[in-house]
Symmetry: C2
Subunit: 472 residues, 2 copies
């Protein structure tokens, strides 16, 4: 009863729209005229933005999220210097839709990028992110940001869909998953199309040595930061790593370095990489003017056993709508803006990054479409308690579950891989995620009123939802 009370009566809606619109005109134009930049007050200056997006990293895979044998001192330090979310979600349990959500601020079903039966784009796919979507990069570029995507794209690898068609000035990376070339997820040779390593729209290598991918991405990212800093306009770096998605590879420098074995070596390489980015920002004097966010696209790919990660205390992994499939590490860093040493239980999602980054940049978000993200600035800067809002767990185009306040209602469940059809739950399963983070104790029968409230939210969502044409 308390749950319903707190989420129905207890809190007033946050004036998200209001906040979004309170944009200093000064801030909005300050860096459009680079020569005037030094005149702008530091607080009003739009920050550089760096989003680091690991692939298949689990909730429990970092030291600061409790992993016993993966050492991530740089990410732990980043968390200690900033804010660590404990209830942060990707908007899908697999790659393609998760990335679409991050870059559009919308549930992937709206853009048609939800995937069929929870699948992703493959080498034979001919589609990609629709031109009608307004990506975060497009919005920031239009407002004067320098933009780069370095790493795994996976939103369409044919020319019309590449990063450079979607707001990024430059691109360097593999446009889809690293198991889609000549090496299988288990690290064995297989038939197929060699992995393309692209610069902008051109394939510059095929089947690159994956041992060096993370280091090459890092080098590219550091170059971009250095060049962008010299150009004097703010920049947006989107760094979606190819790892720790299988097949796993580590360079000589990191191979054998982790007590956790190869998977740990790979995560520790990403830890090193993140440290390198932060060091570069510090060296360039950009630490106080750069917002950095670290998260992952979905949970650990458990069927790969020791080559898959850990969701820590959470149930399930990649491909499922149990918490382990979609709840992720989320670390926000912006020295002297985000207070140090924060741990936040506030709900956050990758879609919120879209809205939050636009708000930081002083950019009005598109008003001609539904956005699902909210501005997380109150959580990051003010320690405000955000209002309660629903979070919808989609597997492909199907709604499987809903979170509202501390409650999660499952209509369907399906393990990520190996279970061919979903299990339907009627009555649905209800878990109190904050009391029972591991989703062990169904309390549906004790809380019919909670269920009714959540079902209302679902009906409202279904009414307003216009699915995009499915992209394959």
């Amino acid at each position: 009863m308390q749950g319903v009370k707190s989420f129905v009566e207890g809190r007033s809606p946050m004036a998200v729209d209001g906040r979004r619109r309170v944009i200093s005109l000064f801030a909005a134009v300050a860096w459009l005229v680079p020569s005037h930049e030094s005149l702008a007050a530091d607080v009003a200056k739009p920050p550089n933005i760096v989003i680091i997006f690991a692939d298949d990293l689990g909730y429990g895979d970092l030291g600061c999220y409790g992993h016993p044998t993966i050492a991530t001192p740089r990410l732990d330090q980043m968390a200690h210097e900033g804010l660590r979310f404990t209830q942060f979600y990707s908007a899908a349990p697999v790659c393609t839709p998760s990335r679409a959500a991050l870059l559009t601020g919308r549930y992937p079903i709206r853009s048609g990028m939800a995937g069929n039966k929870g699948r992703v784009l493959f080498v034979h796919s001919t589609g990609g992110i629709p031109a009608s979507e307004r990506t975060l990069a497009e919005e920031l570029a239009a407002a004067g940001y320098q933009t780069a995507c370095v790493g795994k794209w996976h939103l369409g690898h044919l020319p019309p869909y590449l990063p450079t068609e979607n707001g990024f000035d430059r691109y360097f990376g593999i446009p889809y998953s690293n198991d889609m070339g000549l090496i299988s997820g288990r690290g064995k040779p297989k038939k197929g199309t060699p992995l393309p390593l692209m610069r902008d729209t051109v394939t510059i290598e095929t089947e690159p040595d994956q041992r060096f991918l993370t280091e090459r991405y890092t080098e590219e990212a550091v170059s971009f930061i250095s060049e962008a800093a010299a150009a004097g306009r703010p920049f947006f770096l989107y760094l979606p790593h190819s790892m720790p998605h299988v097949p796993l590879f580590a360079s000589k420098r990191f191979a054998g370095s982790s007590a956790r074995g190869l998977y740990g070596d790979v995560v520790e390489t990403i830890d090193w990489s993140t440290g390198k980015i932060l060091d570069t920002l510090r060296e360039k004097g950009l630490a106080k003017s750069t917002f950095v966010f670290f998260t992952s696209d979905n949970g650990p790919w458990l069927i790969y056993r020791q080559h898959g990660g850990s969701a820590g205390p959470l149930r399930g992994g990649k491909g499922s709508t149990w918490e382990g499939g979609m709840r992720e590490p989320g670390i926000a860093w912006w020295p002297s803006h985000i207070p140090v040493g924060q741990v936040s239980k506030a709900l956050g999602t990758t879609m919120d990054l879209y809205t939050t980054c636009l708000a930081m940049a002083g950019v009005e978000p598109p008003t001609d479409r539904t956005l699902d993200g909210v501005d997380l600035s109150p959580v990051l800067f003010d320690e405000d308690v955000p209002s309660i809002r629903p979070f919808f767990y989609y597997r492909g185009p199907e709604l499987f579950a809903v979170r509202y306040g501390p409650w999660k209602l499952h209509f369907k469940t399906q393990s990520g891989y190996g279970q061919r059809t979903p299990e339907l739950h009627d009555p649905p399963l209800l878990f109190h995620l904050e009391h029972d983070p591991s989703e062990q104790f169904d309390v549906a029968k004790d809380h019919p009123d909670v269920i009714a409230t959540i079902v209302e939210q679902v009906e409202r969502h279904r009414k307003e939802l216009t699915p995009g044409d499915p992209v394959y």
Copy 2:
């Protein structure tokens, strides 16, 4: 193969005995003559020692060990200022033997305190810790320390076995578990003997209001620290909390404060309490002269559902020899002596606290008996890699499993509660705990040589072991 190689050839045994014996005579006598204390160099001065021992707290129940909704800012800060172990063990999966191990530095089977079939001492028990054991408190008291036990004793509640008979100058607390009185683990009234709250050897209250237990223990601990500081001799405070063992109670101040519900309220009270202890040390100017260690007696009592804790990524809980039953948070703090911000994967056990504390105090440990603890000082101060040594997982008087290097071999398994007889494993199950912390992937058939090496360790242990007469 690498595993065997690393643990058989790769490292030389640490000269633990040698280290232990290098005791500055100056240090050993400095505070025996209080008036000379100020003349002693600070580094050579034996520190005050505080051991905080939670009850049934799981590996995953603190913020710094990855719990999503239990807020433990003070313990997180303590870890950040000191060293956090990720592979620290209690020596038994239930209360009584775990406490015996901590205070004697020996596997509880040696003292006869192992318990019958994994059980503990009950209200009708007539035995307790044998007088022949040399407790940590006795050793420290003999060397001039002021000593106090505040909280749950559970090593015998009849007069010959109380803390004041075992080296403690004073005692305040409930001498056994908080579900052994008139309230059941589920918080319901039940028949029985009212819980005694004792001061030294006298019951001063019966069935005290459990909402205030942690706060009363804290108040007592703070008083002891204040008085001991004034007396000018070093002190040893052993603070075994009664909580978060069921039944759970929180005072008005903490009730409803945690997003995790009542269990979280109770853990957050212990977090507050730990902060209060550290604050007191700082206020008295004792932070740099006090070694504080925080851990728990065994894993979470899972059958109590939301009233039980979480082992995080680890398998099993209280009562079992799966990792969740015996691996615990372990946080070491001693400003300006233990370097800040350390996370250590070194093996540590509660038995090592005995040996480590004696080494810090400059006290020669007993030589007339086998001690199982080693001095962890190299881990705490030098970041040395300790030598590989076996760790034996006992359930009651039976050896169920062995850890050696990263490997764990299970001869028997049994869930903590609800499984009446152990499952025997022949061949035994083998897990690589550092690659596979959740004990999911039995790799026995790939590593016969590892198994042979571990079996040798077991044979050696069995040959030298003389079990004590069982205590009931």
